[in-house]
C-alpha cells in the first residue's frame, strides 16, 4: 500500500511569536520554521507501517512556498521515500489544501492519507475532514492507535468522553493525535541521504485547483497581557472580589 503523508511548514513550536505592528498577521521574518509536530507523528506512523510491512511506499507532500521543500526533506530524512511539493505563494486556506491534496490523491492513488489533526499555526483542524468529504472516503480523526486487519483498519480516537474505536474500510483518511506515537529523530546519515531522494514539483494551476480566497482576515491581535494576581486573606474576601470585581458569581 502507498501511504501519502501531508506535512506543513509552520513556525517552530519553541518560537515565541509576535504579531505584526499593523495587525495583519504574525511576523514571520527571521523566525525558525519546522514541520508541524502533528505531521511528524503522521510521518512516523507511515514509517512504522512500512517497517511492519503494511506499507510499501511513503510519500510526503507539502503545499506552499519554495522553502516547504525543507519540510519535505525532514520527512525524507526520517525515512519517507519521495516528496511532492505543490508550490504556491498564495494564502492557503484549509479548503485549498484539501482540494490540492485531493488532486494529488487522484494522481497517486494511495491506500491511506495521514495528516496531523491540526497545524500549530492556525489550529484550524479542518483539512483532513474536508479531504475525506471531497474524496468520499471514511475518516478516523484524532487517532491514538491504528491497527490493520483483513484489509480494514481499527482506528482508536481520542474523544471527549474517552476512547472510541472505529472499523474503517480502505482507502481512508487518518488525522493524528499526540499520543499516536513518539516520532523518531532523523539520524545524521539519513539527513545526508535525504538530499538525494526525489522531490516532484507541481503547481495548484497544473492540478486544476482555483486558489481564489474564501476568507478575509480582519485583524490579528496578541492575547491580552495577564494582570498581576492578588493574595486574599480569607474566603469571605475571595467571594467578595469574585462577585464585585471579577463579576463571575
Amino acid at each position: 500500500m502507498k501511504v501519502l503523508v501531508a506535512v506543513k511548514r509552520v513556525v517552530d513550536y519553541n518560537v515565541k511569536i509576535r504579531v505584526k505592528a499593523d495587525q495583519t498577521g504574525v511576523d514571520l521574518s527571521n523566525v525558525k520554521m519546522s514541520m508541524n509536530p502533528f505531521d511528524e507523528i503522521a510521518v512516523e506512523e507511515a514509517l512504522r507501517m512500512k517497517e511492519a510491512g503494511t506499507a510499501d511506499e511513503v510519500i510526503a507532500v507539502s503545499i506552499g512556498v519554495q522553502q516547504c521543500q525543507e519540510t519535505i526533506r525532514t520527512a525524507l530524512a526520517m525515512g519517507a521515500d519521495r516528496g511532492i511539493l505543490v508550490k504556491t505563494d498564495a494564502v492557503l486556506e484549509p479548503l485549498h489544501v484539501a482540494k490540492i491534496l485531493k488532486a494529488v490523491v487522484d494522481e497517486e492513488q494511495p491506500g491511506l492519507v495521514i495528516l496531523g489533526k491540526q497545524a500549530i499555526d492556525d489550529d484550524c483542524n479542518q483539512t483532513g475532514q474536508m479531504l475525506a468529504a471531497l474524496l468520499g472516503w471514511p475518516q478516523g480523526t484524532f487517532a491514538s492507535e491504528i491497527e490493520f486487519a483483513d484489509g480494514k483498519a481499527n482506528v482508536t480516537r481520542e474523544v471527549d468522553g474517552g476512547l472510541q474505536t472505529l472499523k474503517l474500510n480502505l482507502p481512508m483518511i487518518v488525522t493524528t493525535d499526540l499520543r499516536l506515537n513518539e516520532p523518531r529523530y532523523a539520524s545524521l546519515p539519513n539527513i545526508m541521504k535525504a538530499k538525494k531522494k526525489p522531490i516532484d514539483e507541481k503547481t495548484p494551476e497544473a492540478l486544476g485547483v482555483d486558489m481564489a480566497p474564501h476568507l478575509t482576515t480582519l485583524n490579528v491581535a496578541e492575547p491580552p497581557k495577564r494582570q498581576a494576581g492578588v493574595i486574599v486573606e480569607n474566603v469571605a474576601e475571595l467571594v467578595h472580589k469574585l462577585r464585585n470585581e471579577a463579576g463571575v458569581i
Binding site: R73, R184, Y185, A186, S187, L188, P189, I191, A194
Partner: protein
C-alpha cells in the same frame, strides 16, 4: 558540504541536545553514568562515528563540518562528547590512518556502528606532558608481544572494547621512534582496568587507570604492522584532535552564555533585572566577544586543514585560546548567578566543574603555549 547542507544536520543535533541531552545532565552528574536509552539515541543519530570516513561507515565530514557539528553537540554537557570522543579521536582515527587492512576490517565497522568504544592509552604515572618518556614496554615473544606497565587517567577505559596502547618496543631508543602502538582487546589476560576514578567534573564519562601485567598480544595487534609507528601516528592526528577540542570549548561557551544571559534577564535586584546593570552587561559582553573570537579561530583553522595547509600552530592556538576562554566564561556565568551558581541545582555549577578539565587534558595550556611559540619561531627563522 556548504552552509545549506550543514544546516539540517545541525538542526537534527540541536533537537536531540535540547529535548533529550540537556534535560538529563543533572541526573547524569548525580548518577555518574549516561542512561542506556540516551546512548542508544546518540548511536542512532550517528554521533559515535561523526569523524570516521564514509568508506568505513562513518559520516565522512570535512573538518569544517565536524567543528560546526561539535559546536551544536557540545552545548550539552561535555560528558556526552567524552563518551564518543576517544573513538572519534586518536583512538579510532589512528586505525583509520595507519591500521593494516585486516585491522580496519576487524574494527572499523563496529566502531562506526557505535558498538565498539576505543580508549587511547598514552599517559602514565611517570609520564604526562612529557609523553615521549613513557616506560610501558612491549617485548617481542615469538610471533607476538608481551606488554608491561601502567597507564593513567584513561578516558572510557571501563567501557572500552579496544585499547590503543602506546608502548616502547625498543628500550634502547628513548625517542619517539622507539614507541609502537598496539590494539589490545578488552578481556585479554593480563589487561586490568581499575575502578573508575572520582573526578571533579564530567562525571558521566568514566576515567580509570589501566595496567598491563605480562599481557600477551598477537603480532596482528601491532598498529600498522610496523614497529616505531606509534608516536608518529599519534602526532599525525594531534592537530586534528586540538581543533576538535577547540570546538568542544566553543560549544560549551555558547551554552554558558545562554545560561548566563537568561539568568541575568530573569533575576531581579534593586527593583530591576540584573541584566540592566552595566557591570553585569560587561561580563556578558566580554564573554560574547571572546566566544566569537574562539569560534572564528576554530572555524578558520578547520577550513585551512581541509585545504591541506599546515595548521600545527593554529591548532594549538585553538585548543589553548578556546579552553582558556570557556574557563573565563564559566567563571563569569557562575558570578552572574551569584549564590545560585555555587549550588548543585544550577547548570552553571556543573558546567563550571566540567569546563576545568579542558585546560588540562589533550595537552595542557602550557604545552600548547610551547607548541605555538616553537612553531612561531620556526616560521620566523624560515623567513629570514
Amino acid at each position: 558540504m556548504n552552509e545549506d547542507d550543514i544546516v539540517p544536520l545541525l538542526d537534527g543535533v540541536r533537537r536531540l541536545v535540547n529535548e533529550k541531552l540537556i534535560p538529563a545532565e543533572a541526573r547524569i552528574d548525580r548518577e555518574h553514568r549516561i542512561p542506556d536509552d540516551l546512548l542508544g539515541l546518540m548511536r542512532e543519530m550517528g554521533l559515535f562515528a561523526y569523524a570516521i570516513p564514509a568508506e568505513h561507515g562513518g559520516l565522512g565530514l570535512s573538518k569544517w563540518a565536524e567543528v560546526r557539528l561539535i559546536f551544536e553537540f557540545c552545548r550539552a554537557a561535555p560528558a556526552y562528547r567524552s563518551y564518543v570522543g576517544t573513538t572519534n579521536g586518536v583512538g579510532g582515527k589512528s586505525i583509520v590512518l595507519d591500521g593494516t587492512d585486516a585491522q580496519k576490517r576487524r574494527y572499523l565497522p563496529s566502531i562506526a556502528a557505535g558498538d565498539l568504544i576505543v580508549s587511547f592509552c598514552l599517559t602514565e604515572p611517570g609520564s604526562g606532558s612529557d609523553a615521549k618518556s613513557l616506560s610501558t614496554t612491549a617485548r617481542r615473544d615469538g610471533a607476538g608481544y608481551v606488554l608491561n606497565g601502567s597507564k593513567r587517567f584513561i578516558s572510557n577505559a571501563p567501557i572500552a572494547g579496544l585499547f590503543t596502547v602506546m608502548a616502547r618496543t625498543n628500550p634502547e631508543d628513548k625517542s619517539a621512534a622507539g614507541v609502537s602502538a598496539f590494539l589490545v582487546e578488552a578481556g585479554t589476560p593480563g589487561l586490568r582496568v581499575d575502578p573508575p576514578l572520582e573526578k571533579m567534573g564530567q562525571l558521566g564519562a568514566p576515567t580509570a587507570d589501566v595496567t598491563f601485567d605480562d599481557c600477551r598480544v598477537p603480532g596482528e595487534a601491532l598498529l600498522g604492522g610496523t614497529e616505531g609507528l606509534g608516536f608518529i601516528t599519534a602526532m599525525k592526528v594531534l592537530d586534528d584532535a586540538r581543533i576538535h577540542m577547540g570546538a568542544v570549548c566553543v560549544g560549551l561557551s555558547s551554552r554558558l552564555l545562554e545560561e548566563m544571559t537568561a539568568h541575568a534577564m530573569e533575576r531581579r535586584q534593586f527593583g530591576k533585572p540584573i541584566a540592566e546593570f552595566q557591570l553585569i552587561q560587561g561580563m556578558i559582553a566580554d564573554s560574547e566577544a571572546e566566544y566569537l573570537a574562539a569560534r572564528a579561530m576554530v572555524e578558520q583553522t578547520a577550513r585551512q586543514m581541509d585545504a591541506g595547509e599546515n595548521v600545527t600552530k593554529a591548532a594549538a592556538a585553538c585548543k589553548y585560546f578556546a579552553s582558556e576562554t570557556v574557563w573565563r566564561i564559566a567563571d563569569r556565568a557562575v558570578q552572574v548567578h551569584g549564590g545560585y551558581g555555587y549550588m548543585r541545582e544550577t547548570a552553571v555549577e556543573r558546567l563550571f566543574r566540567d569546563a576545568r578539565l579542558l585546560r588540562i587534558f589533550e595537552g595542557t595550556s602550557q604545552i600548547m603555549q610551547l607548541v605555538i611559540a616553537r612553531e612561531a619561531m620556526k616560521e620566523y627563522k624560515a623567513t629570514r
